[in-house]
Amino acid sequence: MNEPLDCRAVLDGIADAVIATDAQARIVYLNDAAQRLLGWSGHELLGAPVSALVLPRQRGQARAAFNALLETGPPELAVNLCAMHHDGHDLLLEVRLSRVRAADQVLVVGVLRESGGALTQLSSTRCAMAAHAAVTQALIEARSVESALPDVLQAITTTLGWTAAVFWAARDEDGEPNTLEPLATWSLPGIDLGRWLRETLDARPAPGECLAGIAWQERSLQWTSDVTREPRYRRASAAQANSLRSVLAFPVLGPGQGVVGVLEFLSTRAEQPDLALSQTMAALGFQLAQFVERMRHADQLRDSQEWFVTTLRSIGDAVIATDDQGQVVLVNPVAEALTGWTQDEARGHHLDEVFRIVDETTRLPIESPVARVLREHQVVTLANHTVLLARDGHEHVIEDSAAPILGDDQRFRGVVLCFRDSTDKARIETERRALLEREQAARADAEQQREHFRELLVQAPLAISLHDASDLRYTFVNPRGLQLVEGREVLGLRPEEAFPELPAHISDGLRRAAQGHTTSASEVHMRLRSERDGTATDRYFDIVAQPLRDSRGQVESVMIVALEVTDRALARQRIQKAERQARLLADAVPVIAWTCDADGNTDSFNALWFEYTDSPPGTLEPDACNLHVHPDDLPSYLERWTHALATGQPFRHELRLLRARDRAYRWHLTRVVPLHDEHGHVSRWVGSATDFDDRKRAEEHMRFLAEASAVLGSSLSYQDTLKSVARLAVPRLADWCSIHLVGIDGDNPGTPHQLVVAHRDPEKVRFAELLDEKYPPDPAAQYGVPNVLRTGKPEIMPDIPEGLFEATAVDDEHLRIMRELNIRSGMCLPLVARHRILGAITLVTSESGRRYDEADVAAAQELAERAAHAIDNARLYHEANEAIRIRDDFLSLASHELKTPLTPLHLHIQALQRSARGLGRELSSERMSEKLDTISRQVTRLENLVDSLLDISRITGRQLHVSCDEADLAELARATAERLTHELERSGSTLDLVTPPTLVGCWDVARLDQILSNLLGNAIKFGAGRPIDLSISRHGELARIVVRDRGIGIATEDQARIFDRFERAVSTRHYGGLGLGLWIVRQVVEALDGRIQVESELGQGSTFTVDLPLDARRATGHPAASDTPPEARS
């Protein structure tokens, strides 16, 4: 099964220690390195305030830095802080703090680095507390001072980081301090202190001697950080031999301020003391002193108990005890009453003074039984009729006896003397009083114990309550508990009554405790309403319910101990929320991510992977790579993986991943990064794949378009460049690419033809060309090239619609072929420039499986646009070139035609000049006249030429003015023929003129003459000397002019263009003239709203037919009409 993606794996892999806190400075994250550095585990610290890690005296500084960071300060700060290691030693750290805004919260991330070794100041509260705890533990378990001391020394030494320790006991003699005696020593295991230890055990420093002696005398802590420079330290050389450098000695002061002893600690480091350490040591010393004192009392008590046991043997009697010298040490109340001596008065006096006895009858002193016991160390039985002489003069008849006091060692310690008033009344009274005292003592004792227990409950830093075992009613709540319940009255209530919020399982647990089972629950959530201000807050408690039993083992009551852990729980919840957020983030980022084990086996994916590949969430496909990576990209990717696994190096790789949604391979940038364990070995790999297909393809498209543009711009032979572009598009934009062009012929779109079809496989190209020949596109087709050429709108088919082929196939064979092409996706775009459809480009995918999307369409449109402009440019260029060529030809022709009549003009004028000057031959007047005629004719010819040129400029400038006058066309025709007689003669042609007598219309005479002259002139020019016919006739409202020659004729393909400007069917080399004649004729005819057409056959001659309306004014929309004033029309 897929594991949740470990989003923190990377952070955990960082070598620096990293701690993150929330805005409340609670630790929400710490990585492995931080845990190693600080010695604390994650679960110990998560949720804890970060200040717990900082030494108390530095907390202010840390808080200031933290607040500065949270506010508007710089996003980063560096501070040096002293932190506490888990084992108590201090760490001086360089901390780089940075503020991070994550989702809706602010985090502070600290990167910690140890700046040096452990600090010398052992001053932290933490250490002190640890030391206290350890010492307390040692003291609790100890039975005597002697047995406790090694444990105490060990506890202090280890918790405060010392190396060795000595306890010096203070010995008094005659009430005066005398010597210090080494009572116990302890040193770190594995350290042999040898000579120092021997010297220590032999030492007996007096007050003021040695550091310990000085501490004893001065009753203050004494210190040296370097024993070699401390003359007061006697065992310096021995200490130095064991590398012990620092020494600390402080007095252990008893409750009565008497010095119990001195503690001496040594360290191999050069430690420096501070106030906190002094306080800690003083407190520890006090703790120890109390213990010593208690033990001493316990010893005394034990001794007195021995006395007491012996005394009990004669309970109810008066008892006096002496030491082994017969000095009174104890006088019991009965004895006090009988003797009249109080104990205090009697103590130190010899027994004989206190216990004065005489014989009842003789009144003579008799020997005290004590004297015999002292002497004989044996019990002396009661003597009869002895009279005790009390101090106050009373006399009591007594019975007495004495016994020796022997210790455990059978040593004689003293004598106990028992005696009683032999009167019954006195005895009974004495016994009653003794019983009463015992009872009172027992009661006081019990009271004291109860008081201790209550103190414990009251002072415990936990909320504690006691409950009646029968119905769990509150019987006691300690102050901490009262704090917790926030003013609720709970005593006498059952828990459910006091806390309606109490979860059911806790109630059950309490009932089970009442039945004798200890139950516990952690982080119990309760929404508690404060009785004080009514606000409800979410709080969490660790709860233990403990049954308390009476002496018979019956459950008497239940103790509930509750510890509020709200901070911890909330912090944990925040962490969990943050982790959920992180996971959410990992799933939300637009990046596919996965993790692998050290061997590269994938063990988890994020959500995007499953969405992208459409595989069931949580599954791990064993062959995910083969299934989803493009086959062309797989080998190089696996190779990179192999290399990475061998070297432990990260890598990046670009590859295509199959997207399930549209079965499209999309480009991804993958990054695979190793994570290392604490030993530096690769423990895991984290992989990510970013979809940059759009960018990648945009780049490819740009590159492709740039190349295509370069190709298109490389030559003006657009047909060749378009072929190159089509080949360039395969396979980068398509598997198939074809370009169709529309032949441009004036404004009429010609038949489209396929210029090029491109495919990787030349065989397929040939196949496609044959297909195009066999099944040429139907111009009326609703799909494909014809449709696009017709409508000018692109046809985009990301998926080929169902039934498209069936709808477009010509026959079954065609359908079969189209299906075999296996077309996946296609688009057909018009090539449009300056609003003219020049052709279409078709892009189709098949074997690549590629599906066109918007980016592809955009690229294709760009390509189509550039191709269209290239075509347009090339065509414009050719047109412009052609226009220039024609213009140059015309200029050359015009120059030729102007120079030609100038030649005879020039020659004849010069001949006349020569003659006039008397040079050369004299000219006859007839000759001269002929020459002048020729000159005149050349001038006319030049005039005509100039008029033609002017006509051109008028026509092209739309300034051809047509006037309208009554005129007879027949007469005009005859006049023109007459005028051209000379030309006809020289050409050798004859003219057959057929006209009606008159044909009157409303015409521009000059223009009609122009028409007739040009047509007739052409017939003469190209008539090859053969007969020419000119006929004029009327057809309804039209006049018809027909000019026929039998000359060279005009080829069919040239007939359309002979009316164009500067055009002629024959080479300009062979025939004179500007080539403007027919063009001017056509312009004039059209200005007169007429029509001109030609029929001709090469070598057989030409027939030009002109139809003109009889009244040019009836024609509409031509310049003549518009030039005529309205009143002139009717």
Binding site: S892, S895, E897, K899, P901, T903, P904, L907, R914, T934
Partner: protein, 126 residues
């Protein structure tokens, strides 16, 4: 003038005004003159036995233009000895004449003195 020979000057030009003008002027100056409308007609005259002292040849003519005539002229050893002077209004007349291998070139409109000087080099007056 040593090269000047006897024989007519053959004027070949399709433009009647030019042709007649040249013929008339040269005749007036005492030269024997023959004329043809285009290259083909000129060739016919030559093959018919005309022995001109000089051929004045227009370039732009129907049927056979000046260049086509020159090709034949160069190919025919007998004809090639005849001097051919191009007389043309063409803008590129000089270049075209050179390519034709013509003996000389006169650009239209030609100056009468220049024309006579040129003709006198090859033809003797009668």
């Amino acid at each position: 003038m040593s090269e000047a020979r006897r024989g007519p000057v053959l004027v070949v030009d399709d433009d009647a005004d030019v042709r007649f003008g040249l013929v008339e002027i040269l005749a007036d100056e005492g030269f024997e003159v023959a004329s043809a409308v285009h290259g083909a007609e000129a060739l016919e005259l030559l093959r018919a036995g005309l022995q001109p002292a000089l051929i004045l040849l227009d370039l732009r003519m129907p049927v056979m233009d000046g260049e086509a005539f020159c090709e034949r002229w160069r190919e025919d050893e007998a004809l090639a000895r005849l001097p051919v002077v191009i007389i043309s209004a063409d803008a590129n007349a000089v270049e075209r004449a050179r390519r034709c291998g013509a003996t000389g070139i006169l650009e239209k409109p030609v100056d009468l003195d220049v024309l006579l000087n040129t003709v006198e080099k090859y033809a003797r007056r009668t």
